[in-house]
Amino acid sequence: MSADPLSNRKPETGAFFQRDRLWHPPAFTPGYKTSVLRSPQKALLSLDNTLSEITGPVFGHNILGELDNDLIHNFARPGESAIGPRIIVYGRVLDERGKGVPGALLEFWQANAGGRYRHKKEGYLAALDPNFGGCGRTITDEEGNYAFRTIQPGPYPWPNGVNDWRPAHIHFSIFGHGFAQRLITQMYFEGDPMIWQCPIVKTIPDRAAVETLIAALDREATIPMDARAYKFDIVLRGRRSSMFENRLEGN
């Protein structure tokens, strides 16, 4: 047991709710061509969680550097900053029961304001920003809140169809409390007409599910003369109470 000794939270030990696989994108989505040869074709083996999925590692705030949640400055030369529309992205990580998820590790990555990634596999001719790396991370507080500062990424073309473009987006990796909650997703921006044309967005069958990936512009949280704010809440799998679960032999 490695629970924070200062926390009053009781550790949760119940299994996670089953995933609604019709809400998530299926593995095989021919409109997104790379999925064709990378999608399992046999049925998944469905199982209730064991301890191996109920448990997960803890990431302490001590792993975080001061600028980890500031993409405007964490790769920039001293005294300089990344170029682009300055934004704050903030929100809460909740589970399906509506409970905040404290201690969740969030990692994010994105293109620069011109739509260019700092990566050797990138083929877009837009310029690199010498002051922008494109990665950041944070850990949610006791209520599940998080926030980071960045620049709004640009849209960019990608080789799928002849002329396919990705809407502006930020990738998120979310690590909750159990290995079964592991999730990667992408955040889009309110009002972007490119969202509904994107083959990767379209892998999600349900329009209502796509809408949960669109961050809302929050003028109230906008910082005067500094940065606009976008609110993006993230929901991880909920879990059962272990109150009535079978006890292990000998426990």
Binding site: M1, R38, P40, C135
Partner: protein, 205 residues
């Protein structure tokens, strides 16, 4: 009308994309100076208890070509079968072993290597013991939702035969897709096949 359960829907998954390294292993893709080390790179130290093992994993697409842009995370118990997690109620796991690792597959060979320890046995919920195993989570460009599977050990024939999860696999011919092979150098070689005759058993768990 009944009361509302007030449930939220899980955030839908989206692919990790080709640039997953930027966010999750930035030093691996030459974005240096932001984090001192990529998370999950080092799993063991001098004081970690248990038998040192090397796991070499690759992920193959439907043509049999290894993915060179995948990212794998593993999660496992310590040598006594305890997880280093607040949800582990049976006792304190080895403080020198977090049990979690993360590696990007090599951009030339498609291989990723985990230096870890062999896990102990962990009980199933009815008290039966599971065979030693390592949980895998695989993401990549073209994978719309992270794939979950497990690696078991080839020398654990007896334990594998009584493992309650392996027992749930209807087509026994597929069980070996979850059992690593032993390489000439002693490393465990775990080839994950996304499609085809050798398609790995993936879990909805």
């Amino acid at each position: 009308m009944a009361q509302s359960l007030n449930r939220l829907k899980e955030t839908p998954s989206q692919t990790a994309g080709p640039y997953v390294h930027i966010g999750m292993t930035p030093n691996f893709c030459d974005i240096t100076g932001v984090y001192p080390e990529d998370l999950g790179t080092t799993m063991v130290n001098d004081k970690t208890r248990g038998e040192r093992i090397t796991v070499r994993a690759r992920v193959f697409d439907g043509t049999g070509t290894p993915l060179k842009d995948a990212l794998i995370e593993i999660w496992q118990a310590d040598s006594d079968g305890l997880y280093n997690s607040p949800s582990e109620m049976r006792g304190a796991a080895d403080p020198n072993f977090a049990g979690w690792g993360r590696k990007a597959t090599d951009m030339d060979t498609g291989e990723c290597v985990f230096e870890t320890i062999k896990p102990g046995r962990v009980p199933f919920k009815d008290g039966r013991r599971q065979a030693p195993h390592i949980s895998f989570w695989i993401v990549a460009r073209g994978i719309n939702i992270g794939l979950q599977t497990r690696m078991y050990f080839p020398e654990e024939e007896k334990a594998n035969a009584e493992d309650p999860v392996l027992a749930r696999i209807e087509h026994k011919v597929r069980v070996p897709t979850l059992i690593a092979e032993r390489g000439a150098d002693g490393a465990y070689v775990f080839d994950i096949h996304l499609q085809g005759e050798k398609e790995t058993v993936f879990f909805d768990i």
